[in-house]
Symmetry: C2
Subunit: 196 residues, 2 copies
């Protein structure tokens, strides 16, 4: 009983199922059948809409990046001062959406995949550059640009590191203390550059 206009619904369901499957499994080693089953369809349908498995994985990664960008834009809209913009950028990376177990596991898996797939590496670089430029722009209002670039790298590295620790869920840092750790670093850097 095929109702028409299923395509967008199926695409979304399959992408969500992909994130969930990767998140639960902890790697990209998930079968098309597992993903499709989770979305309530057959594996053949997943191929019908996405072609090869790689295409589905790429689409899933783009979806994650789009979500992140959307949330970032929303939070930045209400932040006027450089200091507030900094906190907004930090906060978005540890929001319930982005710092959720499944999403974090998926990110980590995609990072690994990016070593093989140039397309995925390109996508990740776009994100990394955007994060870095956002951080630098905000920091530049509080310190010399050359130092801002430096500090931005430190912040980005710390965020990535906290993602790893989250994925390994041992001494899993909760979002609150993770934010506190990064904010502490930010505050220290600003203060040290301030009283010259």
């Amino acid at each position: 009983m095929p109702k028409l206009g299923m395509e967008p619904l199926r695409r979304r369901a399959l992408i969500d199922a992909t994130v969930a499957a990767i998140g639960e499994h902890g790697s990209l080693d998930v079968t098309m059948s597992q993903i499709a089953g989770r979305a309530g369809v057959s594996s053949a349908l997943a191929h019908h809409y996405f072609g090869a498995k790689d295409d589905l994985l790429r689409a899933t990664m783009r979806s994650l990046l789009a979500d992140l960008g959307r949330e970032l834009r929303a939070r930045l809209a209400g932040a006027t001062t450089p200091r507030a913009r900094l906190s907004a950028i930090v906060a978005v990376n540890f929001s319930a959406q982005q710092f959720g177990e499944e999403v974090v596991a998926a990110w980590l898996a995609f990072y690994v995949e990016a070593q093989r797939s140039p397309e995925m590496r390109r996508l990740l670089n776009v994100y990394a550059r955007r994060l870095h430029s956002n951080l630098t722009a905000a920091l530049a209002g509080l310190m010399p640009r050359s130092e801002a670039i430096h500090v931005a790298e430190g912040i980005a590295a710390m965020i990535d590191g906290l993602y790893i620790r989250r994925a390994l869920k041992n001494g899993a840092p909760d979002p609150v203390s993770a934010i506190a750790l990064v904010e502490d670093y930010v505050a220290l850097q600003i203060a040290s550059k301030e009283h010259r």
Copy 2:
């Protein structure tokens, strides 16, 4: 023409080949044949000495951890002050051995695998705890213990984050600037706690 006493040689060659294969491939998705071929033997021999593939991977991870521990102990031996011990711990993580492309890629791949394998997660936790306790011990000579614990987490996260960026080799941080970034963080934290 089997010479005797091959076992230790083969084991080492196979483990080295595993690191190399993982490093080049960027994931644990390497076949036993690829690994064995790189070590100059047949895949059957790899199974003969290690059993299942998982066993070889676990042995490889233990080898990486052992190397790291050995180098850490060596560097700590010559460091007397808390400040020197801190720098030694940081430096080890970015040494030519540990921060080499292959080794970094292998670490990242094992991190992902640890989400599935409890045994690997256990091994990684041992390392994480040892790193954390070493850092905390050194920091405790320079600030209150409660703060030392906090700062140790920040350092560890930053190191992990720099590993990821190294693996993605885009804005790949060279060892020197990576060390500078972490040392800067350490110095700032110490200074801020110092002049109370």
